[in-house]
Structures are given as structure tokens and as C-alpha cells.
Amino acid sequence: MSVVLSLSGVSRAYPLPRRRLLGPRPMLQALSDASLTLSAGETLGIVGESGSGKSTLARLVMGFDRPDAGRITVLGQDINALPAPELRRLRAGFQMVFQDPFGSLDPRRPVGWSIAEPLLADPALDAPTRRKRVAEALEQVGLRPADGAKFPHQFSGGQRQRVAIARGIVTRPRLLVADEPVSALDVSMQGQILNLLSDLQAQMGLAMLFISHDLALVAHQCDRVAVMHRGRIVESGPVAQVFSHPRESYTRSLLARPETKSADNRELVNNTP
């Protein structure tokens, strides 16, 4: 199987605010020495607590941010060595669904425009073809072609998240980086979207980086999983193996079901007339 994405030794640190005026600037190591590979048709889950570096990794893979060290190869190209015009051309082949859908949509343009935008990188697609592809993508995520004329604020939160997914799949990319792609959706719609992503993988060999804090979804959707803790990938492997026999204590703590106060629920259920 062909490798679609590989990272080797990738690091990124961000400066934190100074504690004292003129004091040294503390740094936050958001990602340290991350290495991974992803092949066509494969889904790699990225899990880890809030702030562990998952979105940082996603932004680096997309070339929206540059690593301090290490090498990122997407579709055979070192994206940080590529001149801007070539990166733009390559861009149609790897797309991202952002954690915050509002952020990826232009508030002053109808969403149909935002969905079509990644298609502009391909000069072979004329306007009618682009329109057709946008309509198709909207239907795939359970919206209507006519919804393309609406503005982002005219949608509900979950509808906006689906618009962002439509934008992510419209180019039929070979790599999709999906950052919490279904977190705003009800379970019924989550099921529909994940089924859709599975279909795209089967049909087009889509490779996917699937970031989620919902471990049940990761267990369902992913082939392999990488566990992140404080910017490091502490453990990775086939999802069934990592989740059933975690090597690291951190992974075990993630997997431990948080205690729920089901006791009072049971009491209430018993009061049912």
C-alpha cells in the first residue's frame, strides 16, 4: 500500500507569556519528536487529553504551521520544502476538517462558495463541474444542494459542521485530516457521517487522520491509533491491540471509564409509575 503521509521527528514549541517583565520567555513544547506513517485507505486515530497536541499535529500536516524540527511528507512531497504554487496545486489532494467549523467558513460568503474553494486549485474543473461537485458533497453530508446559497450563520451548529465536512471531501482528496469531525453531531447524524467516510475509503482509498476524544468512535472507525500525551506519541499500534492491551499507564488512564453517578439514576428509574 502506498504511503500517503509520513512524519519523522517532528517538533513544535510555542512561547508562553513572560512571568516577569524582561524575564525569560517560557516555551511550551506542543509537539515533540513525533513520527508516524499513514497509507492509502487507512484510518489512523489520534487520541489524548485536551491540550496534548492533536490539533497542532494536524496544522503541521496541513502546512498551516511549520515545525521547528523534523520532516513531513505528504503524497511524496516534503511540504515544507515545496514552493507556494506547487503546494497550492498539491493542496486539492489533502484537506482538513477543522475542530471549530466557523473558523473554516467565510462568514460573508454563501457556504457553496467556501465548499467550492478547494476545487479552484484544479484548473481542469470548469464552473458547472464545480457546481455539480458542491451539490453532490452537500447531499453526501445530509444537506440539500439549495443550502449552498445560505450563509454560515443561517445554519445550526451541527449543520455547519457538516458544511465543513462537505468542504473537506469535495476535492475527493487522498488524505483527509479530520479534527473532531463529528463532535457537534447527534448520534444518528454521527452514524451517517462515519458511514459516509467509510464508503469514501472503500471507494477511493481515502487515507484519514481521525482526531477524536470519543474513544468508542475511534474504536469503531480507526485501523490504528496513536496516543498523545504532552506533545509526545506515547504509544501506537492497531486499535484493537492498543485498546485491549495498553502498554502505557497513560493509555490505561484514558481508557478507564470515568465513574458515573449511575446510582441516583437507577433510583429515579425505579420511581417510574
Binding site: P17, G157, V187, L215, H220, A240
Partner: protein, 328 residues
């Protein structure tokens, strides 16, 4: 505290919320659930006088005896933050990108609680600790874009809690959080409601979370409140076919379902069909067209609300389901 009667919101003549009536007593915890696009967020926004400008709003919203539905923005503004606060569904768009986290949380306290700069900052820091953000001192001086998704969501929660609201409306407040942190936030909200008599309207697609936090729940579909009642009863014994579908689509989270390496992915369950566009919703029961037990009359006739049992439970269905057998 809140009395909502026949609240309707429409866009271009299409009703997105259809004559909703409910009360929010002081200290009550109310869950609001339903599929994407069924009207939860705009109902919540209306409670704070923040319905979209393009929406036509009718009906009555009474807060502590005062009619607020047609109140001027000036009056609403003095209510917000001081009396009612909201955790918005999309944190990034709700946080001012030009302000530091510390100011976002502290400014309402300086304005409404008249705290001085140092006191407000100290309390902002405490709030960040309370919502579980590590290294709070450094975070106070950062901008929203420098935080992770889950950190931003918790900053929004901290800001909403800063002025000790009497009502907190939390719209999907834990979507960016893992189960452990989410659980901690849910317990915090519940505790504040119990110890400070804060009322809570909790919107979530996570039925487990709703069960954990709320005492009563409303189920919305296509702008109608189709069922309501005590949360645990309603989850154990749904009477509206839509509620039942919603509960059955819930993935079984008790055990992670692990596939053998290379085994095909099973299809995930969902309620057949999808929520129609506002303009295409049936005039009668909104669920007509998707309902597994639909009768010929359903699409044309809006069912009246029937009261079940001793009056706590209500359902808007022509032929509600029979009680489930609940172990005694």
C-alpha cells in the same frame, strides 16, 4: 423564575420553533435534546434575548414576573452576565480574538460585580483552576487562538460562571472534552446548581451527560417539543416514537467495540431519513414521514399535548407508545 409561553421563532415565514411553553424554576436543571437543526440553540438564544435578528419572535418570556419578549436590548443587556449567562456552542466564534483570556473572564466581573482589577484577576484564575485548565497563570495572558479547542471551551464556561448567574444556558458545553474532563465539568455545573440555586438549561446530544446532570428533559423535533418529563423516566420509558429512536441510535458505550485486525467496519445505526428543511416540515406532526408508527392523520394534524400519569410527563403524539415494562 422563567415562564415561557407559546414561544415561536420563524425565518422567512417558516417556523423553526413552534409555540414552545415551559417553565424554568429557580435551581432547576433542564435538559434539551434533539437532532441537529431541530431548534435547540435558537430556543436557548431567545431565553437571553439573543435570537438572530432575521428571526420573527412571538410569544411570551417572563423573567421573575417581568415580560421580556419585547424588551429593549438595553434591558436584556443588564440581565445578561448579571442574571443569565450562556455557554455558546462554538467557542472560537464566541470568544473575542483580540482580548486576552484573563480580560474575557474578568471584565464582566469588574462591570457587574464592581471588583477591582486584582480581585477580578484572582477570581478569573480560580475559575480556570475550577474548570481544570493547567498552568492558569500563564493562560490568563494568552489569546483564544493560542489555546486548544478543549481549553477554549472551558474558558467560555469560566467566563459564563464568573458573575454567578441565576440561570446558565449551556449549549453543548463539553463537545471538545474527553470523558474525564467532561465529567468534571458536568459535576461542577451540577454542584453550582445545587449549592447556589443556579438554574441550568443543558443542551446536549449526549444522553448520558443529560442523564447525569438534569432532572427534567425536553425533547425537540422540527421545532416542536415532542416529549418532556423527569429525565430518568423519559430515558427508561420513552413514549414518543422519536424519543425512542433517539435513544436507540445511541452507541453502546459501556464497552468499546473492538474489531479484529482487518475485519470490516459494521454500519452505524441511525434514525432512518433526515430532518427535512424548515420549508418542507409537515404541517401536522413534525415527525410524520419518518415515524415508524405513523397513521394517515399524522401529517396533516398537529397532535395535542397529552399528559401521562400524575401530570409530570407530556407527549405530543396522536398515538403515544405504551409504557415500557420497567423492573419494579
Amino acid at each position: 423564575m422563567y415562564k415561557i409561553r407559546n414561544l415561536s421563532l420563524s425565518f422567512d415565514g417558516h417556523e423553526a420553533v413552534r409555540s414552545a411553553s415551559f417553565d424554568i424554576p429557580r435551581g432547576a436543571r433542564l435538559g434539551l435534546v434533539g437532532e441537529s437543526g431541530c431548534g435547540k440553540s435558537i430556543t436557548a438564544l431567545a431565553l437571553l434575548g439573543m435570537a438572530p435578528a432575521s428571526a420573527r419572535v412571538s410569544g411570551s418570556i417572563e423573567i421573575d414576573g417581568q415580560e421580556m419578549a419585547a424588551a429593549p436590548e438595553r434591558l436584556w443587556r443588564s440581565y445578561r452576565a448579571r442574571k443569565v449567562a450562556m455557554v455558546f456552542q462554538e467557542p472560537l466564534s464566541a470568544l473575542n480574538p483580540l482580548k486576552r483570556v484573563g480580560d474575557i473572564i474578568a471584565e464582566p466581573m469588574r462591570l457587574h460585580l464592581r471588583l477591582d482589577r486584582r480581585a477580578a484577576r484572582a477570581r478569573a484564575r480560580d475559575l480556570l483552576v475550577e474548570v481544570g485548565i493547567p498552568d492558569p497563570e500563564a493562560r490568563l495572558d494568552q489569546y483564544p487562538h493560542q489555546l486548544s479547542g478543549g481549553q477554549r471551551q472551558r474558558v467560555l464556561i469560566a467566563a459564563a460562571l464568573s458573575c454567578d448567574p441565576q440561570l446558565l444556558v449551556a449549549d453543548e458545553p463539553t463537545t471538545a472534552l474527553d470523558a474525564h474532563v467532561a465529567g468534571r465539568i458536568l459535576d461542577l455545573l451540577k454542584r453550582l446548581s445545587e449549592t447556589r440555586d443556579m438554574a441550568l438549561v443543558f443542551i446536549s446530544h449526549d444522553l448520558e451527560a443529560v442523564a447525569r446532570v438534569t432532572e427534567e428533559m425536553l425533547v425537540m423535533y422540527g421545532g416542536d417539543i415532542v416529549e418532556r418529563g423527569p429525565t430518568a423516566q423519559l430515558l427508561a420509558d420513552p413514549r414518543h416514537p422519536y424519543t425512542k429512536g433517539l435513544i436507540e441510535a445511541r452507541p453502546r458505550l459501556d464497552a468499546l467495540t473492538l474489531r479484529a485486525d482487518g475485519a470490516p467496519r459494521p454500519r452505524l445505526a441511525s434514525i432512518p431519513g433526515s430532518v427535512p428543511a424548515l420549508a418542507d416540515l409537515p404541517k401536522g406532526c413534525r415527525f410524520a414521514g419518518r415515524c415508524p408508527i405513523e397513521r394517515p392523520a399524522c401529517a396533516g394534524l398537529r397532535p395535542a399535548v397529552s399528559v401521562l400519569g400524575p401530570g409530570q410527563r407530556q407527549v405530543r403524539c396522536l398515538a403515544p407508545l405504551l409504557p415500557a415494562k420497567v423492573p419494579a
